[in-house]
Structure formats: structure tokens, C-alpha cells
Subunit: 224 residues, 2 copies
DNA sequence: AACCGCTTGTGAACGTAAGAACAAAGTCGA
DNA sequence: TCGACTTTGTTCTTACGTTCACAAGCGGTT
């Protein structure tokens, strides 16, 4: 039963495809025509066998003895990720982080169009942001529905996140990117990805802690 | 050979411990004294068996028939993550995102102290930020060494990231949190975690794409 | 046209993680 | 003190992900 349906790409692979895509864009800018799995893997920071297996899920794209055509591979990855069509997004919560996200150039350059920025604070509504302006949260549903928005980005405080999430889902959003430090509950057809900034630092803290203790051998801290 | 040395906690578990910790803090604020694996797992959005296994790596903490003491568990997780000692950090690159990170309340409230904010832009140096001020990048090494900084946060453009990373590592930083969309190369004793904002959206895009195609059956898009 | 060197694509082995299920170990009430 | 009940800690099974190693396939060369 280890059969995988054609078109089924493992999660871990999908996450790396985004990295390969970025690397390939860089190579294309340098007018590189062809790249081997070994080279590409080195730049992307992964094992070359893993890279080849990842790419093999997209079909047989490379040429044996030669490598991969940069342009072709780039298109293939982009189409697998569904990046051939522009996707519309909304951002809810325009505090510090929300502002930064709104100004992040990587989004629009990669095919994501933000059609609305929302906040509850009346003081912020109307403020201009990233060649648009902040709308009141009450307009959320109408904007989502009018634009067929599929992705919602939540950058509110933790307390507001679930409510905002529910409203997004009710309005038709089927993918959520959550920056609020809270666990979201959603229906099964909705995908959530979370970015937990404090957790990232805590994970690094764990490794720091470990490094400063064990130093590689079977040493165990005696617990008082 | 599936023995795991005592004290060895799996990566996947470490990442979740940070989530449990946050949930437990919330429970403690509500004056909850005891919590069962089932309850805690529900709030944290994970399977209860997984949660129990995660916690079992920290030792036998719960009481059968009762559950876990919230305070005790919280302390145990915090100490496993090395959060009992405050960790000093520096932030390099104070653009939009850097500002947002500097203003993020979750860092200092969880034991992370930023002792320096750096940028190359002379126009920004001196600007006040999060009850401190922006320093010139040239001071990076001296600040890192003077404060025994162990964690560096990179929020520069992609082109600068590797150079900044090298400087941090040379100065003695052993953990890096990278927000720049680039792959960092570091010595083996240094840990890197990356947060790739555009990649997150692309992963969601993939799932959107998949939902709008297959709808759950063996349907395969015919490739022209 | 036959060979040679190179690189892909993949099968098999290994390691890590998730989930189900249950025995062990505790509390609480009588 | 004993028994019923609850919830943990852990074992076992299954799934997923990574890595190795190599046959298959292609371009260039003679």
C-alpha cells in the first residue's frame, strides 16, 4: 500500500518546491540554461537525491547526462504549485506585523494580489498602505466575496484570531496563513499554515540549551 | 537500534512543546490547576496520544487518574526548552519586517532580550526602536561579544543575508533565525531556522490548486 | 554506429514520526 | 482496606520522509 496516486505530491516536497523555484529564478536571472541536480541541490541546501526525488513527482523533466532546463523546470514547478494563476488575498490586522507583511515585496512579485487590508481600529481605517488603504473589518465579507479571495492572512492579536478566521471561512476563504500565536480550528476543507515567531526562538533556545549541556556525549543533567 | 538517549527529544516534539507552553500559560492565567492530556491536546490542536508521548520525553510528570499539574508542567517544559535563563539576541536589518519584529511583544515576554538592532543604512542609525536605538552594522561584533549573544535574527534583503550570517557566526552566535528569502550556509555547530513568508503562501497556493482540480478522486489533469 | 562518460529517475533500506491500544498506576468512595 | 474508575506512560503498528546506490538513458566522440 505504498502506492501514491499520480499528482500526489508529499507535503515535505511541496515546501521545498517553493525553495527550488526561488533558486531557479535566480539562475534564470544569471542566464543559466541548464543545471544538474547536484548543483541545484547545493544551492538549495539539500541532498541531491532528495531533490531528484522531489522533482520526479512532477514527471520526468530532466535529461540524463545533461541536467534540467532551468526555464522548463521553473515553469513546471510554478504550474504544480498553482502559481500560473494569480491568487487574491486579504490581510486582517494591520499592526506592526501587518504593515510589514503589506510592504513585503515577495508577495506581489510571486503572483499574490492583496485586495484588502482590514483592521478593527477606527483610527487606522482609511490609512494608506501598500498602494491601497485600510478598510474597516466590517467590509471583510463583501470584499472576500466580490474578489473570490481564496487566501486570508491573519496578523491580529491572538484573542481575535479565531473570530477573524471564522469570518474568513464563512465568507469563502479556504486557506489561512496565521501569524497570531493561537491554534485555529477550521473545517476540514480549509488549510491553515501558522508562523509562530516566538516558537521559532524557543526552538532555537532549546538547541542552545542542549549545546551548552551535553556537548555530544551521554552526559545527562542530574535533576535536583 | 531505536533506542533514544535520555534527554534526547525529537525535533517534532520540540516544536510542539513551545505550543503546549503557550497553552499552559493561558490555562495558568485562568487559574486552572490540573489538566488532562485529552483537554490539553484539544486546545493545542493535536492528538492526545501524541501529546502524552511528547510529554513523556520530559519524564513522568503527570498523575495517573488525574492529569497534569499545570504549573509543574509549565516549568518542566520551560526548563527543557532552556527558557529558565534569559537569552540575548540581536536583530540585523531594520526595514519593515525588522521594525515589526522589534515591536513584537511575544519575544521579551518569553525570555528573549534584544541587546542590539543593526542596519547598514546610515539614515536609520540612531533612530529609536523598542526602547533602544538602531546601531550601525559595524558595531555588530562588539555588541555580540560584549553581551554573549547566542541568537541572531536576520531580516535583511536576501543579498545581504549570507554576509550578515557569516559575521554573526564569526562573532560567536550559534543560532540564527532567518527571515531573508535565501539559503544560509553555516558551520555544523550553528542552528538555523528559516521563516520564508513567500514560500508559505506558495504552499497554500498549491493546496488551493489541488482543491480546485481533483476534488478528492483519481482525476488527473491531462498535461498538454 | 558503437562506445564512453555523465546525470537522471527509482527501488530498496533506513530512520523518524503518528496513531491505536492497553497495561500500569494512581485517586476516590464506601 | 478494597474495588471501581480514570488517565497516564508505553508498546506495537503503520505511515511518512530521507538517503543510498545503481540501472537506464542521453549526448558527445571517435
Amino acid at each position: 500500500m505504498s502506492e501514491r496516486r499520480p499528482g500526489e505530491i508529499p507535503e515535505a516536497t511541496v515546501a521545498r518546491l517553493a525553495v527550488y523555484l526561488r533558486v531557479l529564478t535566480g539562475l534564470a536571472d544569471d542566464s543559466t540554461v541548464t543545471v544538474s541536480s547536484e548543483e541545484l541541490a547545493a544551492i538549495a541546501g539539500v541532498n541531491s537525491a532528495k531533490l531528484r526525488k522531489d522533482l520526479s513527482y512532477l514527471g520526468s523533466i530532466g535529461t540524463r547526462g545533461v541536467g534540467y532546463d532551468v526555464t522548463l523546470l521553473r515553469e513546471k514547478i510554478a504550474s504544480s504549485l498553482g502559481l500560473t494563476q494569480r491568487r487574491t488575498c486579504v490581510l486582517v490586522g494591520v499592526g506592526n506585523l501587518g504593515h510589514a507583511l503589506a510592504g513585503y515585496p515577495g508577495f506581489s512579485s510571486r503572483g499574490f494580489t492583496f485586495v484588502g487590508y482590514f483592521d478593527v481600529d477606527p483610527g487606522r481605517v482609511g490609512e494608506s498602505i501598500a498602494d491601497s488603504q485600510i478598510s474597516d473589518i466590517s467590509e471583510l465579507e463583501s470584499v472576500v466575496e466580490a474578489n473570490g479571495v481564496s487566501i486570508g492572512v491573519i496578523a491580529t492579536p491572538a484573542e481575535a484570531a479565531q473570530t477573524v478566521c471564522d469570518r474568513l471561512v464563512d465568507a469563502g476563504v479556504t486557506s489561512i496563513l496565521n501569524f497570531a500565536p493561537s491554534v485555529l480550528t477550521v473545517p476540514g476543507n480549509v488549510d491553515v499554515r501558522k508562523v509562530d515567531l516566538a516558537a521559532e526562538l524557543q526552538i532555537l533556545s532549546f538547541h542552545e540549551h542542549r549545546k551548552s549541556r551535553g556537548l555530544g556525549d551521554g552526559l545527562v543533567e542530574s535533576v535536583g
